[in-house]
């Protein structure tokens, strides 16, 4: 897994992600204006003082985009990572333990999944204090039910293979079976799922922001910016399209990198570099 063996598509994806990261980290230096300062008229066109125009309150869109990378990246990425950690660990434990443990975990998972995700999030977030960490954890837990489903399905396929049986017969513990025998052989489909789930959590975050339970104004996030400016489309203002394009850009970049990871982890000979 070296930079030299990376195909051009993965390099583009990685460059894009690094670019967004750079924007997030150096936002105060790069951004021409403050993210919450009202600096011009409502929905000013592109060009002039404001490279991308202004939003529905007259704030500079470019500056908000740059600052918005912070919240979007941080919340969506950590929620996805946490949801995968929870979902994969629990699903693998269920598969490896079987019996009652599997039943209890799977039925609890069904229970959580049977409540629509948005309603569940609304109820929980309305009760708990408004805090970015709580937001992340709630998003992660809700999302982890989907990861659990997939994780259990792929792990079941692997767990009946002879080499897993051989490991049991050798007297290995559950943790070895989970992390050394099953996990490496399920990475490809799970990474693919990661690329998809990451996109979904950006959208889910924007939905929550729109309902007032996500990221709180005046802090910018891309999804929220789409919602703020959506009425502008009627008047031919492109202000809601630019943050939308930014979301698309980030998701495409993440998926380009994920595609490459899937290739290297599913090709058994290519696996020699990262095993």
């Amino acid at each position: 897994m070296t930079l030299r063996s990376m195909p051009i598509s993965a390099r583009i994806g990685l460059a894009g992600i690094l670019f967004v990261f750079a924007c997030a980290i150096f936002a105060p230096i790069i951004a021409p204006y403050d993210e919450s300062a009202i600096v011009g008229e409502v929905w000013a066109p592109m060009g002039g003082d404001f490279l991308l125009g202004t939003d529905n309150l007259g704030r500079d869109l470019l500056s908000r985009l740059i600052y918005g990378a912070r919240a979007t990246l941080f919340v969506a990425l950590s929620a996805t990572v946490i949801s995968f950690s929870i979902g994969m660990f629990l699903s693998f434990t269920a598969v490896v333990s079987g019996g009652v443990v599997d039943q209890v975990l799977s039925r609890l998972n069904d229970l959580l999944m049977s409540v629509p995700a948005l309603i569940l999030a609304l109820v929980v977030l309305a009760v708990l204090p408004q805090n970015i960490w709580i937001l992340i954890v709630v998003m992660a837990v809700i999302d982890s039910t989907r990861v659990y489903r997939i994780g259990r399905a792929v792990a079941l396929d692997v767990s009946v293979m002879d080499f897993v049986e051989a490991a049991w017969l050798r007297g290995e513990g559950k943790l070895w079976i989970i992390f050394r025998e099953i996990l490496p052989n399920t990475l490809a489909p799970l990474l693919g799922e990661f690329g998809l789930r990451f996109a979904f959590s950006i959208l889910f975050l924007s939905t929550l922001s729109f309902l007032g339970l996500g990221i709180q104004p005046p802090i910018a996030d891309w999804g929220g910016m789409v919602k703020d400016n959506k009425d502008g489309i009627i008047f031919g203002v492109s202000a809601s399209l630019t943050p939308g394009a930014a979301i698309a850009f980030l998701v495409v970049c993440v998926n380009l990198v994920v595609d490459w990871l899937i290739n290297t982890t599913s090709s058994l000979k290519g696996a020699r570099d990262n095993a």
Partner: protein
């Protein structure tokens, strides 16, 4: 006499694309020529990768996965089918050339009745009307010896046995009255007692319909029964081509001689001993309500080999699962070195687990594809003996040496090894635990004959060196002769015969052992007819031959 199929200087290549974008040409078949006349059978024989199937499919002008016919001619009744356009080839396939695949179970669509699938090609090509085709199918079911030929087509694929399914597929190929049929290992997936029925049926049908046939197999003994000529292939090249009699009785090439003389090794059995390594008493086991094993009792003396023989579904593998503790028995005990073993794996100590190791049939799935050979072989060393670092690496090298593989394999992944090498690594992993008993579950049945023989020799040498005991599960009598001290014959979950090898394999036989022994193909022309004549003379063993479990 005009040849039905005439292949001249056939060369088939495939372009392999590397990850870095470069392309290399691999030659799969190189300069192969042969002729098959009407009503005659040509056997194509060779190990995997020899190009047999590629040649067979080329007779349908078909190549799997980007394979292309580079040069040469494939003349079907004087017409070069490799030069035909798509439309022309479509008219040939299924109508003039038909194909019988290895796994009939996978080749039939489980959602449709057999009859409909058998007559499909004839109707599609407009050769017959539905009524005519149905009539012909019934006729073919009859000559192939299928039960109730008139209504057999009404059944679904899952309602008939594996051997019957394979014969139904032969009927499907014959239905359109093709000029040529390609049989691609039609009996390899079947049990010996079923194989003999299918072979006889195919042979009879070819004689009746006067079709030309290509018969692809890796088993020389099988092809000797059915074909008029034999072509031996290796690495895509012709090794030897001649009449069946010449190949079997006077092979010229070294490779052919090796193939003919294989399976003739025998070993002197060890003296009976009272020092039992493994003893199974009154074992009954199964899944939920169904019992797979009924009251099984076995003894394996220390340092010896017990071969468990039987066909698929006889419960051999279940026996191994019970001994390892994966499937706790419903009744009976397993004792090891005189002490009773806890029935379930979870209750056994690591030391108890260490002393029994297992070698699987499919080495591909028995090793984690994401671990290097170093880790696969080294893990038992760390787990059981706490070895780490250089000591561990040295010991892994020693073990690789024992299985006749060098240290250059240390950092390879299983996917980078050949089938025989993988099975050797699996043996090294078992050896690493310093076991007293190794359960071998058909370790050679997925391998080519010469490779399998190498594995058997290795196992025998290791037994001589380490005094390990083997419980060897197999369906192949030749292997039993080669390695066993004691033999247990299993049939439908019961041990029908058990004892030292010489006693079990010599008369008087019980009915089932007799059938099993006589069904093993021998490297002898006319064997099939002799056995079938013998069978007709003796009344059939009830329920043994045809009506077997589905594969």
């Amino acid at each position: 006499m005009p040849e039905m199929l005439s292949v001249k200087n056939l060369r088939i290549e495939v372009t392999a694309r590397q990850t870095d974008g470069s392309a290399t040409n691999l030659v799969l078949v190189d300069d192969v020529s042969f002729d098959v006349g009407k009503g005659r059978v040509l056997g194509l024989i060779g190990e995997s990768g020899a190009g047999k199937s590629t040649i067979g499919l080329s007779a349908l002008a078909y190549g799997r996965g980007g394979v292309r016919i580079e040069s040469g001619q494939i003349l079907l009744d004087g017409q070069d089918i490799a030069r035909l356009g798509l439309r022309g080839i479509r008219a040939v396939r299924g109508a003039r050339v038909a194909y019988v695949a290895q796994s009939a179970a996978a080749a039939f669509n489980p959602a449709h009745k057999l009859g409909r699938q058998v007559i499909e090609a004839s109707i599609r090509h407009g050769i017959m009307t539905r009524a005519e085709a149905t009539k012909r199918a019934a006729y073919l079911f009859g000559i192939l010896g299928l039960p109730d030929p008139d209504t057999f087509g009404e059944r679904f694929p899952h309602q008939v046995s594996g051997g019957q399914l394979q014969r139904a597929m032969t009927a499907m190929a014959l239905c359109a009255n093709p000029e040529l049929i390609v049989f691609d290992e039609p009996t390899t997936a079947l049990d010996v007692t079923t194989q003999i029925e299918v072979l006889a049926a195919i042979k009879h049908a070819i004689v009746e319909t006067q079709t030309a046939a290509l018969y692809i197999t890796h088993d020389l003994a099988v092809v000797a029964q059915i074909s008029d000529d034999i072509m031996v292939l290796r690495h895509g090249k012709t090794v030897e081509y001649g009449s069946t009699r010449q190949i079997i009785e006077a092979p010229r090439a070294d490779y052919t001689r090796a193939l003919v003389s294989i399976r003739q090794t025998t070993r002197q059995e060890a003296r009976p001993s009272d020092d039992a390594q493994l003893r199974v008493d009154g074992m009954t086991a199964g899944y939920s309500a169904m019992d797979v094993l009924h009251d099984v009792s076995l003894v394996l003396p220390r340092g010896q080999t017990l071969a468990v023989v039987g066909e698929s579904g006889s419960g051999k593998s279940t026996l191994a699962r019970v001994i390892t503790g994966l499937l706790p028995p419903k009744a009976g005990t397993v004792s090891f070195s005189g002490a009773a073993l806890p029935p379930a794996r979870k209750d056994r100590s690591r030391e108890q687990l260490r002393r029994i190791q297992m070698i699987y049939q499919m080495a591909d799935t028995a090793m984690n594809p994401r671990q290097k050979i170093r880790d696969i072989v080294g893990r038992p060393l760390t787990l059981y003996f706490g070895m780490r670092g250089t000591a561990k690496t040295e010991r892994v090298k020693e073990l690789l040496d024992q299985i006749e593989m060098g240290p250059q394999f240390l950092d390879r992944f299983p996917a980078e090894l050949s089938g025989g090498q993988k099975q050797r690594v699996a043996i090294a992993r078992a050896l690493a635990a310093k076991p007293e008993l190794i359960l071998c579950d058909e370790p050679t049945s997925a391998l080519d004959p010469l490779v399998a023989e190498g594995i058997l020799k290795l196992l025998l040498r290791l037994q001589a060196e380490t005094a390990v005991s083997y419980l060897f599960i197999t369906h192949d009598i030749a292997i039993v002769r080669a390695i066993a001290d004691r033999v247990a014959v299993m049939h439908r979950g019961k041990v029908v015969r058990e004892g030292v090898k010489s006693a079990v394999l010599s008369p008087p036989f019980d009915d089932y052992t007799d059938l099993l022994l006589r069904s093993v193909p021998e490297m002898e022309i006319g064997w099939l007819e002799r056995v079938l004549d013998g069978r007709r003379a003796v009344p059939q063993v009830p329920g043994a031959a045809i009506e077997l479990e589905r594969s």
